[in-house]
């Protein structure tokens, strides 16, 4: 899951920061099933080791 989130972050990393964070958040909302989002939210809450910083920021914006 960390690997997948990082891959998504690396795609959007080419965009200006706000656009990039929004892109990652939007992607997670649109394509990740709720239990997956719950896991990644908990992972970030637990420190988010190994996650790309764009992914960390994007996960924090998930509802």
């Amino acid at each position: 899951m960390v690997h997948m989130a990082n891959q998504i972050a690396l795609f959007f990393a080419g965009y200006p920061r706000e656009e990039a964070v929004g892109g990652v958040t939007d992607h997670l909302k649109k394509y990740w099933e709720p239990r997956m989002r719950k896991q990644i939210i908990e992972y970030v809450a637990g420190g988010g080791a190994g996650l790309h910083e764009l992914a960390v920021e994007a996960v924090k914006r998930l509802p």
């Binding site: 997948m4 690396l10 795609f11 965009y15 394509y31 990740w32 099933e33 239990r35 997956m36």
Partner: protein, 949 residues
């Protein structure tokens, strides 16, 4: 349907803005300039006798049977080679012509088997029909002269025979092999009386012949004829249907005798194949009646138990009750299902409907997940529609063809033949592929550029090409300004112009000389209509979606979208991959690619289906398997897909399935996934049901029932029964009613009806009020999303890296004679060409390891290892090895890993770091497979009681 007899107009149809009017047998006829007299007469209903002419071949003028008289001209010219002229007065019947034709037929008949002369009978050969047409009776020359009647028959091909005794050396087979198929395997050896059709002075099976059947189709005497036709005799009815193999979607005439298939002939009116075929669709249909077909539903409590045959009622009741039990215990989202890209649109639509409406979850996915899901994502993001942009015929207008990560001669052979015709006409060719595929150099075709990039560097390559376009001022600025989001374009232009994206900088990643990349980019951008055709070598990467967007960027930048002859065109793997995606199989979207979170769309479906629907995306296939191992996903319904053999990291897939309490498999055979199943529901082949398939060019073709379902139910009827048993009633009595619902709920299909499909033969979506007869070319005048959107496509090297332990890269693919997991083709005589998967390895890598051709080798990755024979091949580049996944026992996907495309989870089949070493025995996985497969496929001969069943 009675036996279909297609009219042969003798020579190809001509297209011209100028019309010519002439007179044939006293009738005025107007045809396009360039039309032959033979065709002009035929179009007016005057069928001039002929033998060497056929309307899919250029005129040849050898048989002299189509002679005519033209007022004011001397002699009797062949009508096939004489073009029409204004004011011509042509006579096709006269005593003189009759005498000439009779004389010609007498000569032919004097060297022909006597038993083949009477005619015509129903289904008689063209030769017999012509003999009758000219009134052939006694042969003045007798039969005792020098002849070919004792020539040896060639029965080496498993599907057809060649009997020289019946050959009249009309060259139709030779010309069909050249002009239609483009293989050039046949020739006429010898001169004069000694002339014979030859497959290179060797039996057909040992020749270059690819068994496409074009020669058989062309033969007017049955000198070349299907073995099944010889065995079963003349058919008594025909059904036009759509092939169930690759995404080309060829139309076929299934010829039947009672309920037995006699042969499958390519249908001339088929818009995707124009009367051509390949070895799979034409001949490999024997699986339909193979003894391995499972025709009774079966259940078992544990996967180690033998299967127990039960009634449909018991199987459906048990399955529904188990799904309900599991949902009650573990929650609504603990179950899900997978629809099939081999089943019809209607069946796929029903599976996702049942999952969303009866299961109450969006845990639905389809096998497109593992092949073309990045196509959907990438093209929708950039252009607005998750589909290819052109029809196949568009290639006739392409000036430059760029093939990326596809091997059309093996995987999409009928379209490859179409493409080869255009290439022989002079279109330029760029091939981007790690392997030297056949199209790099094949008769009369030599690619201008073969860019043999390292696997995993597609994005580096496409960025480098785009860099050249931007840096060298080759952008179509007017097009971009008018058609694209200019702000996104400027952002992209700045990105792509950076030196790090130049061919010189990217050479370190791709391994392709920068000069070649620059030259290829210039060719693509400047030589007229440029069309991209791509396959799984694009999508099955960690950057699959990025690459699709990169290709769209390049096409938009050069103005190569929105007209005939250009485009970004996915060559879809399975027959209905496009359709299964269109039908809402993915967990995040309804039919027509509309997200489940869109309230207005969801309300539309809720109103039609009378249930509340979930607004959150469901699990994808790999997510389902992960969740099963985590303990939150417990049951799955799998229609027509074999994820154990086809999906990556077999041991992970197996572990996921083994962790579930209920696995329901609906298939033709006890496939590998069925080894982990508790319920088996018999499937039906494409010949046993009605429906539609959608091919790679968005074309919906009718699938018509030719024989009754062998197990009693079409696949859609099974889903209906299961849904009803689950308490969500479905009331369809025919597949057309399902299509009516699809059309009602899906704007791009709004104009699709079975009546229209019957009338037009096929239709390409979007088909609606704006385009009532469909849309061959998309994005004409503007993109579906409005302005085309350039996306930043940063090259990110895959995390799957070679190491000292795994120094080689494995890439997997397909070959001509086998199809996907081989469930169908392995149960046909196609095995004669490929009875096992082999590992292709470059001579350098082989020699370094002491490997000789045919040696058994171990192929190991961090995921697992298998053993298979090596084939030393210079098609590979050093450092890259290749294999196929057609045989279950090989277990190619034991080796592939869980890495996948960032956007869609499409597996990275094309890049796996591996080591290859000499081996002496099967791998541990293969030994385990050999020992357990028999156990997991046992069928009890006695009724057994299953607790809780």
């Amino acid at each position: 349907m009675a036996l279909i007899r297609e009219t042969d107009y003798g020579t190809p149809k001509k297209v011209s803005e100028r019309a010519v009017t002439l007179e044939v047998d006293g009738r005025a006829i107007t045809v396009p300039e360039g039309t032959s007299l033979l065709r002009a007469a035929a179009e007016a209903g005057v069928m001039v006798p002929k033998l060497c002419a056929s309307d899919n071949l250029e005129p040849f003028g050898s048989c002299r049977l189509c002679l005519v008289e033209i007022e004011g001209r001397r002699g009797t010219p062949a009508s096939c080679t004489t073009p029409v002229e204004a004011g011509m007065k042509v006579r096709t019947q006269s005593p003189k012509l009759a005498k000439l034709r009779l004389g010609i037929m007498e000569l032919y008949a004097s060297d022909h088997p006597r038993e083949m002369l009477p005619g015509p009978t129903e289904g008689g050969t063209e030769f017999q029909q012509m003999a009758a047409a000219v009134g052939l009776g006694e042969i003045r020359y007798g039969y005792s002269g020098q002849n070919h009647q004792s020539c040896e028959k060639d029965g080496s091909n498993p599907y057809f025979t060649f009997d020289p005794a019946m050959c009249i050396v009309c060259s139709r087979c030779v010309r069909a092999c050249e002009e239609v198929q483009g293989t050039f395997a046949l020739t006429i050896d010898g001169r004069g009386f000694g002339s014979v059709v030859s497959a290179g002075d060797k039996p057909f099976i040992e020749s270059e012949c690819v068994s496409c059947g074009a020669c058989v189709q062309a033969c007017p005497t049955n000198s070349l004829v299907e073995k099944s036709f010889i065995q079963k005799g003349q058919s008594d009815r025909s059904v036009v249907t759509t092939c169930a193999y690759c995404g080309v979607g060829c139309s076929f005439v299934a010829e039947l005798k009672d309920n037995e298939v006699v042969r499958m002939r390519p249908y001339k009116d088929g818009k995707a194949n124009h009367g051509h075929s390949c070895v799979k669709g034409r001949f490999a249909w024997g699986y339909v009646t193979h003894r391995d077909r499972i025709l009774k539903p079966m259940i078992r409590a544990k996967i180690t138990d033998p299967w127990r045959e039960v009634s449909w009622e018991e199987a459906i009741g048990h399955t529904a009750s188990e799904f309900k039990r599991i949902q009650t215990k573990y929650g609504r989202d603990s179950i899900g299902g997978i629809s099939s890209s081999r089943c019809t649109n209607e069946e796929t639509f029903l599976v996702q409907k049942m999952i969303r409406a009866a299961f109450g979850t969006n845990n639905t996915d389809t096998c497109a997940r593992v092949c073309h899901s990045p196509t959907g994502y990438g093209l929708k993001t950039t252009l607005g529609t998750s589909a290819g942009t052109q029809d196949f015929d568009s290639v006739d207008h392409a000036d430059v063809i760029m093939i990326i990560g596809a091997n059309p001669t093996d995987a999409h052979p009928v379209f490859a033949s179409h493409m080869k015709r255009r290439l022989r006409e002079g279109a330029r060719l760029i091939i981007v592929d790690p392997r030297r595929i056949d199209l790099v150099k094949t008769p009369h075709i030599h690619a201008d550029f073969h860019l043999p990039l390292r696997p995993g560097t597609n994005v580096a390559m496409i960025n480098a090409m785009a860099h050249v376009v931007v840096a060298e001022g080759l952008v179509d600025e007017t097009y971009v300004k008018e058609r694209c989001d200019v702000s996104a374009f400027e952002q992209w232009r700045n990105f792509i112009a950076e030196d790090r994206n130049s061919p010189e900088a990217m050479e370190a990643h791709t391994g392709v000389p920068a000069a070649d990349v620059r030259a290829a980019a210039r060719l693509y951008a400047t030589r007229g209509n440029a069309a991209i055709y791509y396959g799984l070598g694009v999508t099955e990467h960690s950057q699959g979606s990025t690459m699709v967007m990169g290709m769209a960027n390049l096409a938009m930048a050069t103005g190569n979208l929105g007209k005939v002859g250009v485009g970004v065109n996915p060559l879809r793997g399975q027959n209905n991959v496009q359709g299964s995606c269109d039908m809402g199989s993915f967990p995040h979207e309804f039919s027509g690619y509309r997200h489940v979170s869109d309230d207005s769309v969801r309300k539309l479906f809720e109103a039609a289906w009378h249930v509340p629907l979930a607004s959150e995306p469901g699990l994808r296939i790999p997510n389902m398997l992960d969740a099963a191992i985590d303990g939150t996903f417990k049951a799955i319904y799998i229609q027509g897909e074999d994820i154990v053999q086809s999906d990556p990291n077999t041991q992970h897939v197996s572990a996921g399935l083994a962790a579930m309490e209920l696995v329901v498999v609906q298939d033709l055979f006890l496939n590998e996934t069925a080894s982990y199943a508790h319920v088996f529901l018999p499937g039906s082949t494409f010949l046993e049901k009605d429906g539609t398939f959608t091919n790679a060019e968005r074309r919906l073709g009718l699938v018509r029932q030719a024989i009754p379902p062998m197990a009693g139910k079409a696949d859609w009827e099974v889903t209906v029964a299961l849904s009803n048993a689950l308490g969500y009633p479905m009331h369809y009595s025919h597949a057309s009613e399902i299509m009516a619902e699809i059309a009602q709920l899906t704007p791009t299909f709004a104009g699709v009806t079975y009546e229209k499909l019957e009338r037009l033969g096929s239709v390409q979506w979007p088909c609606n009020d704006k385009a009532p007869e469909g849309t061959p070319v998309m994005h004409v005048g503007g993109f579906v999303r409005g302005k085309g959107r350039f996306m930043i496509t940063e090259f990110v090297p895959t995390d799957e890296r070679t190491t000292s332990r795994f120094p080689l890269i494995l890439t997997t693919g397909r070959i001509l004679s086998q199809y996907n997991v081989g469930a169908q083709t392995r149960r046909t005589d196609n095995n004669i060409w490929h009875d096992m998967d082999v590992l292709e390895i470059h001579p350098f890598d082989a020699e370094y390891r002491g490997i000789k051709d045919g040696d058994l080798v171990s192929l190991a990755s961090r995921a697992g290892d298998i053993t298979l024979p090596a084939r030393i091949s210079e098609r590979m580049q050093p450092g890259v090895v290749y294999t196929t996944f057609h045989h279950a026992m090989t277990g190619a996907n034991v080796v592939t890993t869980e890495f996948s495309d960032w956007a869609t989870n499409c597996p990275e089949y094309k890049v796996t770091a591996v080591q290859v070493q000499l081996a002496t025995h099967l791998s541990e996985w293969q030994e385990h497979y050999r020992q357990t497969r028999e156990v997991t496929t046992r069928i009890s001969k006695q009724a057994e009681t299953i607790p809780g069943a």
